[in-house]
Amino acid sequence: MAERILMNEYKELQKEEWVHVELKDDNIFRWEVALIVLNPTSLYYGGYFKAEMRFPKRYPYEPPEFKFSRPLWHPNIYKDGKLCISILHQPGDDEMSGELASERWSPAQRVESVLLSIISLLDDAEVSSPANVDAGVMLRKQPDEYKRKVKENVETSKRDIPAGFKMPEKAETKPPPKEDLDDDFWCESDEESFGEDSDGDMEFG
């Protein structure tokens, strides 16, 4: 069942301009995706953010995994490129995290809804997320410095644009705006990652 659903979703997403999808090793359970930010008002406009997705055999009953290839400087993105975002969590995992079940994964969710949530996460960071505490502090206290780091990330991401790939430019093709997300959308107290790498050094290659 998972194969059939994924194949359909894969074909649908190939028609979209805001995302570039390819299979890794012809394996329908492993995708290479790139999120292309087409909204000119976004701080991430013009970026080509590569990531890898892995799908469980029990998809869509279990959520996929998502990992940016180049970790972005962002309060909700761990330094290994993984995300702190509730849509990728099964309801019932870590009861205490403060996420509402209503924002968690369900088999009615799709790759498209996950990717759109991630794109809206970029500009709507939840500063209290533990994924990258330093980035959260910087966003609050030194917004200009934060913007500078984001611009660096955006520039670096462009190195991943495949040769011959034509970046879409029209803003009208941006994904439909998501409805407002309330504060509980993000996972808030995933304590194990607190304090890790708290020196704030991140390098962008």
Binding site: Y61, P91, G92, A101, S106, P107
Partner: protein
């Protein structure tokens, strides 16, 4: 005794009582087809109509309900899933 057939009305077509283009919220297949695990439409791959207004193939929904973390909630609206007896 001979029976002469005078007219014949075909009654071999059937449909679930849902809008034609409605798809299962889990597998996204239309309800006049089976869930991805079944081959023949009909009773073996029944349709469950939820009181919340969301419908699924029985097989698709059971796979979710049997997942511990589902807590018996509808995948679409996350209310407790109860189906309408038909």
């Amino acid at each position: 005794m001979k029976v002469k057939i005078k007219s014949w009305i075909a009654v071999a077509s059937w449909k679930w009582d849902v809008p034609e283009d409605e798809v299962c919220g889990i597998c996204r297949v239309q309800f006049d087809g089976t869930c991805p695990n079944c081959r023949f439409p009909g009773d073996d791959c029944a349709l469950l109509v939820g009181k919340c207004g969301h419908s699924f193939h029985m097989h698709c929904l059971l796979d979710w309900i049997n997942t511990e973390s589902s807590r018996g909630l509808c995948p679409m609206c996350r209310q407790k899933f109860e189906y309408v007896e038909q």
